[in-house]
Subunit: 621 residues, 2 copies
């Protein structure tokens, strides 16, 4: 059973998250003239009301990223609108910024305006001007709908600050807060319409659930625990009471108490093998100096950067079920397969979180020990609330970072800023989305291009009651078959909502993401029934389902931490943190401790702020 | 054989032209969202990245200026794109400024996207957002393709200077250089994407060729010779060694040495007639006071402004072949027919270049004595390079010149400038392209509307060897049949390239310009074979052909010098140079000496700068 920590009771109750920073206002004004036939579906006139940048899109059709086209017309229209939404988001615009929509419909039947419902869903309250053009066909024979938009993004006046921070995730926000405390003028430019990056707490069951980062601890994650205290957040100890369930592929055993490896006689050899391999991991892990894993490492460690994690595990002569268990670990921790990363990268990643066993643990000192009632985005909102008013601009993707003369010019979708220094806090692989002038050093760009973000999805399934607990299960399950690799109990008892979070990660996620939304849901619910079914009566009537596919996020493109293949750590162990002139780099993947975790993000932000303060002779000694 | 002048050897070698001033940067950013199906042919999102003016075009169809429509679909698409390019150029934009293209295709067949190749040719490296709309028909039955564009032109911040110079041809640049030398802040606004106006040296055969002004001399063209020395340009004496060829219409004689009028017995009467008429021209010419040809002229001269040159020549009782020779002269010198200009205008034009015989001469002191190895655009680039950095804006056609309060406000496509004075250096007939406020005096506008620019084309035909020289010809030919009136040897022996430049001018040009590009080329090559054929073995395998039609140039609309019909010089001899308030006028047609030549342009620029300095009390006395 989950329960609040005793000391959590001492905090002043903070039942809700701090509010989101305000979205930038739109400068598009729409209206209807007097004495004209009006429509509830569009307005007649749209105009800009101040300095604006203009956005135009190509005609968007209902084609999926893989080139397929839904055969159902409404689904096709929906896909076209999804694509249009992506175009707007890329530009830093949203639907309120749309001035005009033109849409082309093949075989239009005015008695059956089937585009209308999806379109109104897309527009929400906003009514831009529109033109509907019936056409005999479109550019491809299967396409029946095409839509294009003109939008306008209001422009702030140019501003001169000391430091521009690109990205308002935990690392960027922590850096900004530290810099402001040191007396510097800071501007934080965030591409999304919210703060938090990979911390994102979305509404569910009258409260929130974490579709991104979810766990901290109160010992070796000192920064996160301090923030939890600072923002008076309510903490929930992760439920480990009761049995876990593992599917057949991980061994013939099926269920046993959390943290134990009880097995019947026929599984004994498998268990011995797992324990042996784990011990090798842990021992090797603990030899690593996380400040320079390759440079200061032994010959063995250096060699381990030249092979994949999978190749190394196989070279240890382990049995199939041990490999399966390790595969689940790699997927759940990084969203990749053991073959996708170097052995040393994986071990260093574990060591950064205290070691292989600790990072995987849901217990005291472990990586998944405490959750946050108010959601982990509260950390980001809390930091954002500490910034001076006006320091933060949402929906401001940065286009260009130009180092000119003695400073840096940062061009964003909503304005241009001059600064002495810039801190870039976006995921390494997204550096390519920004035009750097002069270009970033080629080693930096090579690294950014070569790292790989995990395929990481969550499906959070809410139930009326915690039926698994009532039948003796803690909610942790493991499967190497998928689609999900792991489930965990993510209930917030205090709010009376009960959920299992299913992690669809690595190779199984790559297949699962191609399914339709309904099929994705069915696949997960079927697996819940399959894995719990032999031991418990499964509640097959979830009350709510929340899905998050991090691959689809324009400004994340994956989760939780870019992964390095063989040889890359050897090449890039210093490159990842190296400033480029007046541009500095932070982000959880640049941390020494707790890479890929919130703790790593915050620590990297502190490091970035210190770098800047040192160069500006403002460091507190 | 052409050869460098002896003193040219003393110059420091400058084998290449100074570089072109940089084009303005585009502020259109195009991109693709993450997780969307992309195409190599377009981008999904285009946005502006700073203050911009917006440009939209009408749907452009493949209709030629004469109203005809190519029957070949691809040719029709090509013509539509040519028209679209003209629209952009008029606006001061180029293809890099295009955000969005929408195109409409009749009977679109997605298996045969025949629009694609011409479109990609038009776009170069740029990929705007696009929408393709298949339609059952367009506004005219024969039209199968229509395309419209949205573009954005970045806007400079307003600036206050002492003088704005409109146009970066030789006259404007000379004025700007003189004004900056006197300590004034000057902004030069050029509509084209290059400097030089009618000096334009384009790449050919690994070097350059002059498609515009090509000749200077080192005696009575003192300004041009000084500039050639200042920029260490290599000079080439025009080849006059060997025979010229004339076709039957100019007399029955066919070929004779350059500068002689040798003829066989049957031609004697014709030659006598030509000599008689020439002498009358020269004598009348020399009576003219070029500072006020009408006002200070004799009654005869005043009368000569009331009849056309053709009428006057006919009144002298000359024979047909003399009229033909004079027609060739008028065409080659001004791109018009003898009937298109007043007799006095033509004589004054000749007197400005030393007289009829001198202006036509390719020898020492003549109008066509020396060419420039690096191309004549080197003069313009050299002057531009003398300007303070940032003084010159390309692709900045001027829209409005408003005299308000104590100054002038100049609105260009890329920004607005406040100045004390403005110097307009564009061709007189192009004044109508600018909105003057208050309007220019009606006499000025009447003059601008009534002058006529010549139909002036060059086709420069390159050969592997100078085959004409090897067979005893200097390369000069004359024909009243056309399409070309004159050819000249324009080889640059030092660079190993050999060319004949064919001048297609006057009435024959008006017909020739209507042909397709292939037919234009064929017509010229056929004529070369026809005129040289009876005397020499013609090389029928040119290695390169460069064509220039000055009529098609948005910012020239003809060449070389606006021509006045009967009565206009009487009305406008002072008007052409008269300032309008704080607006001054320069340009080769406003020169007293060497009107229509580079020398006249530079001298008019000096005069314009002096006018401004006088009014601002900054003249050096």
């Amino acid at each position: 059973m989950s329960s609040n920590l005793a000391w959590a009771k001492l905090f002043t109750a903070a039942p809700t998250m701090p509010p989101d920073p305000p979205k930038p206002s739109s400068s598009v004004l729409t209206s209807n003239p007097h004495k004209i036939r009006t429509s509830p579906f569009y307005k007649h006139v749209a105009q800009t009301t101040g300095p604006c940048n203009l956005v135009t899109t190509a005609g968007q059709i209902g084609i999926r990223p893989d080139g397929s086209v839904p055969s159902d017309p409404v689904e096709q229209i929906q896909q076209a609108l999804t694509n249009l939404g992506r175009c707007l988001e890329t530009a830093g615009a949203d639907v309120r910024d749309v001035m005009k929509l033109t849409y082309y419909i093949v075989d239009f039947d005015h008695t059956n305006p089937r585009h209308r419902a999806p379109l109104l869903g897309f527009l929400g309250e906003h009514r831009p001007v529109t033109t509907l053009v019936p056409v005999p066909k479109l550019a491809l024979p299967e396409i029946i709908f095409e839509i294009e938009a003109t939008a306008a993004i209001p422009q702030q006046e140019s501003e001169r600050v000391d430091v521009v921070v690109v990205g308002a995730g935990l690392s960027g926000l922590q850096a900004a807060v530290d810099l402001q405390k040191a007396g510097l003028r800071v501007k934080v430019l965030e591409a999304r319409d919210r703060v938090g990056g990979k911390t994102w707490s979305v509404p569910a069951q009258g409260s929130v659930c974490d579709v991104g980062a979810a766990w901290i601890n109160d010992t070796n994650q000192s920064r996160m625990f301090a923030l939890a205290q600072r923002y008076a957040l309510d903490l929930i100890v992760q439920n480990t009471s009761g049995n876990i369930i593992v599917d057949e592929g991980v061994g013939k055993h099926k269920t046993h108490p959390y943290g134990e490896l009880l097995a019947n006689a026929e599984d004994r050899e498998d268990i011995k093998d797992i324990v042996r391999v784990r011990n090798i991991f842990e021992e090797t892990c603990q030899q690593i100096d996380i400040s320079r894993p390759v440079e200061s490492g032994t010959a063995l460690l250096k060699d381990l950067d030249n092979i994949t994690f999978e190749a190394w595990v196989r070279s240890l002569g382990c049995r199939e079920h041990a490999l399966n268990a390790l595969t689940i670990g790699a997927r759940a921790m990084l969203g990749v397969e053991p073959r996708d990363m170097s052995a040393l990268f994986f071990l260093d990643y574990c060591k950064a979180g205290g070691g292989y066993m600790l990072m995987r643990s849901d217990c005291k000192d472990g990586g998944q020990y405490l959750r946050i009632t108010q959601g982990t985005q509260s950390f980001s909102r809390g930091l954002a609330a500490e910034l001076a008013p006006g320091s933060l601009m949402l929906q401001s993707p940065v286009r260009c970072i130009e180092q000119v003369g003695g400073g840096v010019r940062v061009v964003s979708a909503r304005g241009t800023y001059e600064a002495s220094r810039v801190i870039v806090s976006i995921p390494t692989p997204l550096y390519r989305e920004i035009e750097f002038s002069p270009p970033l050093p080629s080693m930096k760009m090579d690294m950014a291009a070569a790292t790989r973000l995990g395929d990481y999805c969550k499906m959070i399934v809410f139930y009326k009651t915690p039926w698994w607990r009532e039948q003796g299960f803690c909610g942790l399950t493991q499967s190497c078959k998928g689609p999900f690799a792991v489930t965990r109990d993510t209930s917030v008892d205090a709010d009376g909502h009960y959920s299992l979070t299913c992690f669809i990660v690595g190779q199984p996620a790559r297949d699962w993401m191609l399914l339709t939304p309904a099929d994705r849901e069915k696949a997960v619910l079927d697996q819940i029934a399959r894995i719990f079914g032999p031991f418990a009566k499964v509640d097959d009537k979830p009350v709510e389902i929340v899905e998050q596919i991090w691959q689809n996020e324009q400004w994340s493109q994956g989760c939780p931490c870019p992964v390095m293949g063989p040889g890359m750590l050897t090449k890039y162990e210093d490159v990842i943190r190296a400033p480029a002139g007046r541009v500095h780099f932070v982000g959880t993947e640049t941390a020494f401790e707790w890479k890929g975790y919130m703790e790593g993000a915050v620590r990297s932000g502190e490091r970035g702020a210190q770098e800047v303060l040192l160069t500006l002779n403002k460091a507190r000694l």
